[in-house]
Amino acid sequence: MRNGPVLIVDDDLDIREALAETLKDRGFDVLTAANGLEALKLIRRMTTHPSVILLDLMMPVMDGYGFLEECRKDPALASIPLAIVTAGHGVDRSRLGKGAPIVPKPFDVSQLLGVLHELGSGAEGTA
């Protein structure tokens, strides 16, 4: 299990807050970013990379697809596990990387936790 924080990238403040609090309640360390560019800047300043990124697709400034492209260019970022969290409107699967699971909104917490577990992120408080 890696111990880096979970990075939530979503332009919707309600989602960022609700998701962050839910995960914090379950012992995860959480960081948030409002779009792809903000997320990139944040990751590059971090000494320990996130253990998992939860990425929305439709965002202003830099959307999820743009963020994925940037990650692919940087080997250090390309290795970070990632899940797409989306309302699923017009998802272009061809532009998503292989293997990234999609968590459709609305979702229940057990589904999300299952995905996080699969991607190898562990909460600090859980064994």
Binding site: D12, P106, V109
Partner: protein, 793 residues
């Protein structure tokens, strides 16, 4: 063709007067048709395709160029041009000019099928569709050879006039309308002292200088009076001509106007002689003058009719002269004929009665008037040959106005007759053609806009019969508001000034109903370009317009539905995000209050259930919009349908039990196929949920089996069944058999299930079981991606 009451019908015959005037009107209408026909025969009117190949062919084209339609259609227009024009690339240049200028007019030699040439006047106009796309050309060709011929004939006649002048014993001098000398014969040359070469072009007063012998003053020139007054003028007595070398001679003369076919004076002829030797004899002079005048008169009569047969007699009706054409037609040579009575040489009979016809010369001599020949007259030549002829006779009058003889001018009309007959037959054909047109109202208007002819198409479209509409003004076909705006008159004005009017608009039938009409009005002109009336062609496009409107409405409705589905899709997605946040927040609250407050925990749980239902409804909406907007994508994978059935039944067992229904399962072996697993599960969920909803409290059985290449899936219950009337529409959007509102949901479950089955090439059938209860049968091809895989009803 007009529909008429049969004669002697129960309504009785109309009074004679009415019938006669109706017939007269019908006759007038037919004459007008003939006018159109003539213009069609006189012109080769045909279409070319954009590359210049002949596309259509009319009677005029056939007559002028000699080709039958089947010989010429598809051929390039260059076939009509002479080699020298082809070498210069003229055909293509004309098409290019027509394209750039919108029309081109040309005059030149064209080649007929038999290789002969004719002088053609050609107009080429491009045809374009409403988008401006070139569809081809209309080419209108007129044969002007006859005009050329007429010019040639005139030239020959002038030559022969010249020959006559030069051989005459008197001096003859001719001028143009400005009194300049145009001709002067050798006798006149001698008397005036001017050679023709020197005299031509000089004013008459210079060449023909005369004085009064008594006063020695310059005498007024008779040519001036002839030209000014257009009359025959005799010279005053005691006139002397001063020749160029000063020699003075007493002369006698007379002047006469030269008139063209329209009677306009084009010049003057002066005939004069030296009367030095005769002057003491007044009688001799008078006779001489008379002889000159007579000779000139007869000469002129002869000259005017060159090309036709001419026969002149003395006052007793004996042949005095006969020209070569007349020799040929009568079979008499001039030297044989002269002195014979006219009735011998010019032997005519009435073609119908075979009786000897009254000889026009007899009447001319008796009455001193111009006489035209009766119709249907035939000339019997000396060898018995009979020819239809047309002629006229005119008297040769002396100074006292007494006939001194007669001139008879006649011609062989055999060819004309034949042409007339051919024309009549072709007219008849065209009349029948127009009479059989039922899709178009094709009729004529007089210049004031009154209906002058009518066809069955017009009767069918507008509802009027010929006898009730002839003579009525065409404004009655217009709606009142158009009449108030003066539209009828404006349409005719445009047609008259722009040679064509075209419009699509509402028109009114006899019964007052309106129809959508396409109208073309073109003016008809006579040979001198005067307006004879209009041809109006009307088509009833009401049905087409209705169809177009219907199509437009349908397209608009489809677009509205598409927009709504698009909106539905976007709105549903937008709803999902806040719903997710709400559910997460509720979960957070639940986690925190669960150990502390049981009451609050229960209420949060309810709130979460409501949220869950909201999520389901949104998903249902999304499914519908995906289907409606064609975005239902299937992700095929291989799986065992029996497995899927077992899984779903297990998933729904709890909710079935809480509704009082026992879920049983009838699954044989594994049934492997290629489907979209999530979508197939959705079908199962929707059908089972439907039974749980409508057949609560009764057992529900789900079974699956295989039949050849099909998987058959059944969901049966023991509930109230489906009303017969609803069986056919139960799979439609927002339909449900029960109108009760208490069932909840959007009524889209069966619709979605059906659409998914169809997307897999399958189908769902709803039926009622004999012992009560409903049965839904789903048939799915095992491999829907096989081209032939589809379940037919």
């Amino acid at each position: 063709m007009t529909r008429r009451e049969p004669r002697g019908s129960g309504h009785g015959e109309p009074p004679d007067e009415t019938r006669d005037s109706a017939q007269a009107r019908a006759r007038a209408a037919e004459q007008r048709f003939q006018l159109v026909v003539e213009s069609v025969r006189d012109y080769a009117i045909f279409a070319l395709d954009p590359s210049g190949r002949v596309a259509t062919w009319n009677t005029g084209a056939k007559l002028i160029k000699g080709y039958l339609p089947e010989e010429i259609i598809g051929k390039d227009m260059s076939i009509f041009y002479a080699p020298e024009d082809l070498a210069r690339g003229r055909p293509r240049a004309l098409l290019d000019a027509a394209l750039s200028a919108g029309r081109v007019e040309d005059e030149g030699w064209h080649v007929r099928k038999d290789g002969s040439r004719f002088w053609a006047d050609v107009v080429i106009t491009p045809i374009r569709d409403p988008q401006g796309q070139l569809q081809g050309f209309v080419k209108v060709t007129r044969d002007l050879t006859l005009r050329k011929d007429a010019e040639e004939r005139l030239r020959q006649s002038e030559e022969s006039l010249g020959a006559t002048l030069y051989s005459i014993g008197d001096a003859v001098l001719a001028t143009d309308e400005e009194a300049r000398v145009t001709r002067i014969n050798p006798v006149a040359e001698r008397l005036t002292g001017w050679s023709e070469r020197e005299a031509v072009g000089r004013p008459i007063d210079e060449v023909f200088a005369i004085i009064n012998e008594d006063t020695r003053a310059k005498a007024p020139n008779p040519v001036r009076r002839v030209l000014a007054e257009g009359v025959v003028v005799g010279l005053a007595n005691h006139t002397a001509l001063i020749s160029r070398d000063g020699t003075e001679r007493p002369i006698a003369d007379s002047g006469a106007p030269i008139r063209d076919a329209q009677g306009v004076t084009r010049g003057a002829v002066l005939v004069f002689r030296d009367i030095t030797k005769e002057r003491r004899s007044e009688e001799a002079l008078r006779k001489s003058q008379e002889a000159v005048r007579l000779s000139e008169e007869s000469l002129r009569a002869t000259l005017y009719s060159i090309g036709d047969a001419v026969l002149a007699t003395d006052e007793q009706g004996r042949v005095a002269r006969i020209n070569p054409v007349a020799e040929r037609l009568t079979g008499w040579l001039e030297k044989e004929a002269v002195g014979h009575p006219i009735i011998e040489v010019f032997n005519i009979v009435n073609e119908d009665t075979r009786a000897r016809a009254v000889n026009p010369v007899t009447r001319v001599l008796m009455e001193g008037v111009v006489v035209g020949l009766a119709n249907h007259t035939a000339l019997i030549s000396r060898d018995g040959t009979e020819r239809p002829i047309a002629d006229s006779g005119a008297p040769i009058l002396d100074a006292q106005g007494k006939p001194r003889g007669a001139v008879l001018v006649f011609r062989d009309t055999t060819a004309e007759r034949r042409a007339e007959e051919a024309l009549r037959q072709s007219e008849e054909k065209l009349r029948q053609m127009i009479g059989s047109v039922r899709d178009y109202a094709l009729f004529m208007l007089d210049p004031k806009g009154r209906v002058a002819s009518w066809n069955p198409g017009a009767e069918r479209i507008k509802g009027y019969r010929e006898e009730e509409i002839l003579g009525e003004h065409f404004s009655r076909f217009f709606p009142p508001e158009d009449i108030a705006m003066g539209k009828p008159a404006r349409e005719l004005e445009i047609a008259a000034t722009q040679e064509r009017f075209e419009d699509e608009n509402w028109r009114v039938r006899k019964d007052g109903s309106r129809f959508w009409a396409h109208v073309i009005i073109t003016p008809i002109r006579d040979s001198s370009n005067g307006l004879e009336g209009f041809v109006k062609i009307t088509r009833d496009l009401t049905e087409r317009r209705k169809t177009e409107e219907e199509r437009l409405r349908l397209a608009q409705a489809k677009e509205a539905i598409r927009l709504r589905d698009e909106f539905l899709s976007i709105a549903s997605h937008e709803l999902k995000t806040p719903l997710t946040a709400l559910q997460l927040q509720l979960l957070g609250i639940q986690d925190r209050v669960a150990p502390i407050d049981e009451g609050v925990t229960k209420r949060v749980e309810r709130a979460m259930r409501v949220g869950g239902r909201l999520a389901q409804l949104i998903e249902e909406l999304l499914n519908v919009s995906r289907i409606a907007t064609g975005k239902l994508e299937l992700n095929f994978e291989a799986f065992d349908l029996s497995d899927a059935v077992r899984e779903i039944v297990e998933r729904l067992r709890d909710s079935a039990e809480s509704a009082g229904s026992e879920l049983s399962i009838g699954v044989a072996d594994s049934i492997n196929g290629q489907w979209d697993r999530l979508r197939i599960e959705q079908i199962l969920m929707n059908l089972i949920s439907n039974s749980i909803k409508y057949a609560a409290g009764t057992p529900i059985q789900v079974s699956v089996c295989r039949e050849k290449d099909l998987a058959i899936l059944k969901v049966q219950d023991k509930g109230p069944g489906i009303p017969e009337a609803d069986l056919s529409r139960i799979f439609e959007r927002f339909e449900r058999a029960s109108s009760a509102r208490h069932y909840g949901g959007l009524g889209l479950g069966l619709y979605v299930a059906d659409q998914i089955a169809r997307a897999h090439g399958g189908m769902i059938v709803a039926s009622n079981l004999p012992g009560g209860g409903a049965c839904f049968t789903v048939r799915l091809p095992l491999d829907p991606q096989q081209p032939a895989a589809a379940v037919s009803a």
